[in-house]
Amino acid sequence: MSEGCRGCTGHCCRDIVVHVTPFDVSRIAAAQSLDPLQIVEPRETVPGDGQNGEAFGARIDATGRLFSSVLRKGALDQSACQFLVHLDDDHARCGIYADRPRVCIIYPFVVRQGSIDVRGDARCGPGDWNMARLDYASVRRELAAYSAEWHACARIVEAWNGAVEQGNRSPSFASFTSFAHRVAGAVASDTSLDVGVLERWDEAQLSAELETARRAWLDHVSIAAQSAIRE
């Protein structure tokens, strides 16, 4: 467990809506024997949700509004992530820690001015994160993989929205989630892909080799998505 999370009371699991990718959902579904719809629910996106400030989400109804997938809340405490385990008033722990979404793994870090920092709206207590003791290499790898999977998620959503617009798919959250789950599963099980590229995704100095690998990985996601559309 991360050092800064040791005294955690689970504020981040209560106060923040956890947006996840199909890759997160697939990992949790496999580890917990859950249907993807037991894990996520739709939430309408707002401008700024996307990496470049655009509204980013899937079309799941006829209105044209966009929705992203967020972790469902619990049955007993509807303000908390459904996977949060409450030990007492002062202690809570993630019930899927080993399989938690990438956005939870990287929390509360961001890249600011080229280096890692604690995000300004972090719910952690003062002094929870001692930046002098941070494993920067590990956090940077996780941030890169997070970024890579969101780029891939964008490709999956793009393919889905295109299919909806062309009338090839009826928009619903259940069918989008099932589609996204199939694509994520196909990508994850493809052993020919260079998954090492995920951990180097955001390298500041992009080598030609890394750029090619990134493009190949994303193209593969698009191909898997188009293939799932045709199924």
């Binding site: 037991q38 469902r72 049955a75 996977f83 385990v85 030990l87 202690h91 019930g95 820690y97």
Partner: protein, 188 residues
């Protein structure tokens, strides 16, 4: 993933996590405490144990013995009498174990039990259908590990009890003292 594990994971109600206290060994306590960075007294409770049980720890010289069990949620929870504190209740009402791979050895073997050398898949109170599920190698290995863990734990408890009995007239010990003793006895 074995069929036994898959069937247990899919079980929506997890009666096994609610119908009784789940007793733990020192290995379980140290593993969960260190992995989740939570001190033993925050997730365990002492429950009464028979005076002659080899996992029964003393807190004074009265002869009373206690076992460590995973804490339970309060009775106001949706399940009468509460459930294991680590049981997560999902939005659709189904449940999942919040400890996952960290769960106690007694939970990992479930519902396998050693009946005088023969391994059986059955558990009182469990409503799952276990017919057609084979005794897998993991069950044999986990039962053997549980036996070893209990043997190791009995030695640690005996050391603790000897210490307690040597403290005649001293201040009464509390479960937290035993929890600290366990972390010391099971180094990282």
């Amino acid at each position: 993933m074995t069929e036994r594990l898959a069937r247990w994971l899919r079980c929506p109600s997890k009666e096994c996590c609610s119908f009784s206290y789940i007793c733990v060994t020192g290995d379980d306590v140290a593993r969960i405490a260190r992995s989740l960075s939570i001190e033993p007294w925050l997730f365990t409770v002492p429950i009464r144990a028979p005076a002659d049980s080899d996992d029964g720890f003393a807190l004074d010289t009265s002869g009373d013995r206690f076992r460590l069990a995973l804490k339970r949620t309060s009775v106001e929870d949706a399940m009468p009498g509460g459930t294991c504190v680590f049981l997560a209740r999902l939005g659709d009402g189904t449940t999942r174990c919040g400890l996952g791979a960290l769960r106690p050895a007694a939970c990992r073997v479930f519902p396998a039990r050693d009946d005088g050398g023969a391994i059986l898949l059955e558990a009182a109170g469990c409503t799952c259908d276990w017919t057609g599920v084979a005794i897998d190698d993991a069950a044999r290995r986990e039962l053997a590990e549980l036996r070893e863990a209990r043997k190791r734990y009995a030695g640690v408890v005996a050391r603790w009890n000897a210490y307690v009995l040597s403290q005649v007239g001293s201040a009464k010990l509390v479960p937290r003292d035993f929890g600290r003793f366990l972390l010391d006895a099971y180094p990282e």
